[in-house]
Structures are given as structure tokens and as C-alpha cells.
Symmetry: C2
Subunit: 361 residues, 2 copies
């Protein structure tokens, strides 16, 4: 499979690729809101931070229906840059992979079926009280993962939450993983200093220091995390007890890896990260450096390429915009593994879907 | 399969039994609350009508965990009669059949993962405004059914709601199906007159007569139904577009059948009812008479027998207590079809599980 880049723990990664070929995955998207995503400059939300409450439900509605129903506009920035859900949607459709949506903690609920596991929307991590009910959500998510493992051969689990790399930095830092200047961003100019300052304020509020919560993942999430992390980590744990799991995302998945490693290290035998080329080539971040501080699980990356696109909005991905999200990389990898299509077919289908999206304007 | 009674449309029922042997089902339980269930004398809830808000979540928590977590007591009446979920639990465990819970409209949410599709708790049907958001719930449930059909060979879908046979009488009557004295009851003495009076009050409040909503299932549910019906019917429609569905329950499933027949009659090719022996032998009700007024789909019944039980609480089932619920009959049928076990093994496992339950007291 030449269009899946083997990026970490090569021998094991190759075994996973071989093992999952032609198998039937289930795609889960965990969506959640957090006030952290509304901090000015943290995310790509720009001058309308309250829009970040709508982005996650809009993403999954778009994947299912072809347009959001909770907001009256298409999921494309004013500059024409589309949500990464465009890659997810196209990949799931090409390979007929079903999606299940999990509510990690939402202020705005999507108008589609979704699974509730007791999560609440997250607070601004500068308060040092980022997320509630974390242990209970992990417990219920684990049951969910166990149930889902009976329906499919492997799990691809992604997320949509604004500000997620900042909360990832928070959790990783609390757990003693050096993540400064290593988390990615959906913007070409990665605001590392702002993220670090935000996390430091949260640590100060909670009276903790770097590494103080080395083996206390639940507390690290409660203080500096977001509601996506317990839902995603718990589901992955429950599923990985039985079958393979691909954590579908960028550097946020390093935080999920740290959580899983702290709670149920044995299941990591069944866990890999699946992301995009844009994440592993991101000069402003270091996924591999994060992962290998925790556990050298395989990292796979979908070798997507929008450089030949007719549309500036897609070409922007090649210049560091967006990069990943809504499990885009993992969904593309799963589509290639299931059907044998190459990434050129995904690029082409994205091009066509982008054209359709713009015609809805 | 000698322990599955073929009760209606024999030739087609036999084909379904043959077709589903050794296949992998998914079990869905739709739970909801309605004020109708609190009308004095309507349901077995007795002198504590507010307990009916807790019964549905307690049922599914019990199936998953072996004891409820939302109430501090075991799901057994003071007379020692257990919830029908005991049959469901034992059957699903014996055959390793996964359960998915759907929130049709709950006041009390279970402490387990469940699917939300926009339902609200139901009102007292005497108001003539029984349920809200019905069309939207059906639409989302249909998407859910389509998604679930990708995970399994067939669907067994049951319910837990108090007062459900009264709301079934309401919907059936509004749709012109003669259901007076034909719906079943969880009590040996079926309070037909009270149910009829309740429905008549609802009709009067809404200004409608018997049969006025013959082809208007959504309106019939809105006026005289409950929140379980749109969730269950919609899920069944979406799944039956692709694969077989067993509506798991008693005379309430005749109301679901009427709704499905009105909205998507073509999918009925893929729909059967699965219930218990106690329902088809119920002298106070007439499931076959209801079904055949609508569409002569197959009816199967699990030939369970608690007459030899050492426990009065289980023997009570042979004297007309409980009879069905939480998809007990359908779950037992699915367990027999999947594994080839006979009903004696289910009876035995129920006996053992009842003993365990009583030891928790």
C-alpha cells in the first residue's frame, strides 16, 4: 500500500497494515465543546469564537448529510478552506465505512443519532478545572468500546473539538511529557507561546507543576484536558481489549496515548495512530517525538496531496492549513486498506466534493 | 427449532427461522418515559407511579451490569416477580448478543452508553398531546437503523416503557384498527375498561374519532402514542430497508407495525414479530387479531416455561404476570437461533439468575 506512509515502529506498522487489509472497520467520531477553544488566537475560529460550539456538530452532520443542519452555512472558511471532514466524508463514502458519533460533552447537539456517555462541555483550562465526570465517562466509553468491538474488525476513532492541541499540551505537560513546541495547529503559524502560556495559567490555578500527574490521567484531564479525551481514550481502551484501534488524528492523539498508557497499558499492543502527511511533515510540531516519549506505537499517515488541486482552498492544506481533524487521516487510511484504492482516488473525490460544496453557497 | 412457536403466516415464519439460524443479530432496546404510565391502575407500577420513570433505565442497566445503578433496589416486585429483562439478560449472555440502548425520550437517563435521537418524555395521552418531535425522531431513528444494518445480520428490537399497551391502544384506535380488548397487560387482570376510557379521553381532547388518522401515523403518535414508538418504528424501518427485523414485544408491536405499514409498507417484507408464549396464550388479548388487521407478517414466540420453577416469582409468569417486555421473547428467540440452545437452557439460566438476584437483596 504505497500511499500509506509508515512513520513509526516500522515493523509493527507494516504488520498492522497487512493485517487490516480488506477488513471491515467502524469509524467513530467523538465530538465535544470546550471554552478553551474560544481563547483568542488559539484556534482557527478567528473573530467568532462562539462558532466553535457549532463546528463539531456541523462536521458530523456534514459527513452524514452532505451539509450541516445546525448552522446555515457550509463548513468552509471565508478564504475557501474546507473542514477536514471533507476528507473523512469522501473516504467513508468511497469505502462504505459506517460512522458512529459519540457526544464527549456538547453545548450544541447534532441533529443525527449520537451516543451519550455522560460527558459535559469543557471549561477554559486557565481555570484549572477543565473537565467534569472524567472517570465516569471513561468507564462508560470503555463499555461502548467493548460493545462496538463485537460489530467490526477494527476501530478508527477521530475527534472534532476546537482548541484540542492546547488541551493536549496541557494533559501531556501535567503527565510529564515534554510537549512544548511539539503540538500541531490547524493554522500555518502555530501559536506555541499562547498555548504554553494558557497551559501555565491552568497549572498555576490548580497549583500543579510539569509532571506532577505522571500516573494520574483522570486528574490531568480534569485540570487541563477537554471532554473529548476521556470519551475517545475510554472507547479505544474498551475496543482494544479485543481488536485493533487506530487513533485517528494528529498530536492530540499523543495525549490520548498518554491517557491509555496510564490507565490500561496492556491494550497498547492493539493501538496505532493514523494521521495525514501534513501532520508528519509539520515543521512546527513533532508527533514522533511525543509518541516515543510515551510508547513507540506505530504511526501511519495517509499520503494525500492537494498540490495539484484547481482550488486554492484545498491547496492551502499543502501550506499548513488545517492538516488533520474529524479523523481525516485515519478514515483515508481505512478506505485505502478496505478497498485497495490509492490516495489519488481520494484526492480526486475530495476535489469533486469541494466543487459540490461550493455550489451550495 | 422446536422451541420457537410459529404463530402467524406459517410459511414465511418458517423461512425466516431457517434464514436466521446461526446468524449474528444485534439487540436494540428503546427506552422511554410517559406520564400515561402513571395513571392509577394502568400499569403494574402500583402505588408508586413515579417509579415508572426509573424502570426503563433500570432495566437496561440491569441487563448490562447485573444490577440497576439508577435505583437502589433489584428489579423484582415485592411479590418476588422479576422484570422480564431477566429473560433478556440471560438470553443475550448465553448467545453473546450485543445490546445497544436507544433513548426514545427519558426523564431518567441510564448510567450506560445510549443513543440519543432527539426524543422527549411523553405526556399523559388524556391531554391529546402525547408525544413531541415525532417526525424528526423517526427520521433520525431511520438513519440509526441504516447504520446498524451495516454491523449485523438482523435486528431484534424491544422496548421498556410503562403504560405502553395503553398508548398502543391509542395509536391503533386512531389509525382505525379495532384494538379494544385486544391489547395485552403486564397484570393478570387486564384493565381494558380503564385503557379504553383513557384513550377515549385523549381522543376527545384532540377532537378526533376512531380511524380519523388512518394514514397519519405521526399525528396518531403525537396525539395518543408514546416516545418509544417513533424511535422503535424508525429504527426498524431503516434497518429493514436492508436486512430482517424482529419487533420484539407483545401487542405494542402491533402499534409499531401499524406505524411502519403507514410510513414504509415496502420494508414489511423484512419484518416479523418475536414474542413469548405468554403473549400468544393471553386470553385477555389478541395479538394475531391485531396483526392481521394491518399486515399478516410472521409472528414467532419463544416457548419458555417457568411452571417447574422453584420460585413463586417466576411461576407467576405462567399465571399471567408480566408476560413480555425489554424484548424478552425476541432475545430468547435470537439466542436459540444463534446458538442452537433450546428453551430449557434459557429456563434453567433464568432460574439461576433469579437466585443470584434474590441473593443481592
Amino acid at each position: 500500500m504505497t500511499n500509506i506512509i509508515i512513520y513509526n515502529n516500522e515493523s509493527k506498522a507494516q504488520r498492522i497494515v497487512d493485517e487490516l487489509k480488506n477488513k471491515n472497520p467502524i469509524f467513530v467520531c467523538v465530538i465535544a465543546n470546550t471554552e478553551t477553544g474560544k481563547i483568542k488566537g488559539i484556534s482557527a475560529a478567528g473573530q467568532f469564537p462562539e462558532v466553535t460550539d457549532y463546528t463539531p456538530p456541523a462536521d458530523v452532520e456534514y459527513v452524514l448529510f452532505g451539509k450541516p443542519s445546525c448552522i446555515p452555512f457550509i463548513p468552509v472558511t471565508p478564504e475557501g478552506i474546507p473542514t477536514p471532514a471533507i476528507i473523512t466524508k469522501v473516504s467513508l463514502n468511497l469505502a462504505d465505512i459506517p460512522m458512529i458519533v459519540v457526544d464527549g460533552g456538547l453545548k450544541v447537539k447534532p441533529a443525527i443519532p449520537f451516543i451519550t456517555i455522560g460527558g459535559e462541555p469543557g471549561n477554559d483550562i486557565r481555570t484549572g478545572r477543565a473537565a467534569q465526570n472524567v472517570a465516569e465517562v471513561i468507564k462508560r466509553a470503555q463499555i461502548l468500546g467493548q460493545t462496538l468491538s463485537k460489530f467490526s474488525d477494527y476501530l478508527v476513532i477521530g475527534e472534532s473539538i476546537a482548541g484540542g492541541t492546547t488541551t493536549a499540551l496541557g494533559v501531556l505537560s501535567a503527565m510529564g511529557i515534554d510537549a512544548k513546541n511539539r503540538v500541531s495547529s490547524s493554522m500555518p503559524n502555530n501559536p506555541h507561546d499562547l498555548k504554553i502560556k494558557t497551559v501555565e495559567e491552568g497549572m498555576k490555578s490548580a497549583g500543579i507543576d510539569f509532571g506532577d500527574l505522571k500516573d494520574e490521567a483522570v486528574k490531568a484531564i480534569e485540570i487541563l484536558g477537554d471532554p473529548m479525551l476521556p470519551a475517545l481514550s475510554g472507547t479505544a481502551i474498551g475496543f482494544a481489549e479485543e481488536k485493533p484501534v487506530i487513533l485517528a488524528g494528529g498530536t492530540q492523539m499523543a495525549a490520548a496515548l498518554a491517557v491509555i498508557n496510564s490507565l490500561e497499558p496492556n491494550v497498547l499492543e492493539n493501538v496505532a495512530i493514523g494521521t495525514t502527511k501534513w501532520i508528519i511533515r509539520d515543521k512546527t510540531a513533532d508527533l514522533k517525538g511525543l509518541v516515543n516519549q510515551i510508547k513507540n506505537i506505530p504511526v501511519l499517515a495517509a499520503d494525500l496531496d492537494f498540490s495539484e488541486s484547481r482550488f486554492g482552498g484545498l491547496k492551502a492544506y499543502e501550506n499548513g492549513a488545517v492538516k488533520e481533524g474529524v479523523g481525516a487521516g485515519g478514515a483515508a487510511i481505512a478506505a485505502m486498506l478496505k478497498t485497495g484504492i490509492d490516495s489519488a482516488e481520494i484526492n480526486k473525490a475530495v476535489e469533486k466534493e469541494y466543487e459540490r460544496l461550493m455550489s451550495l453557497k
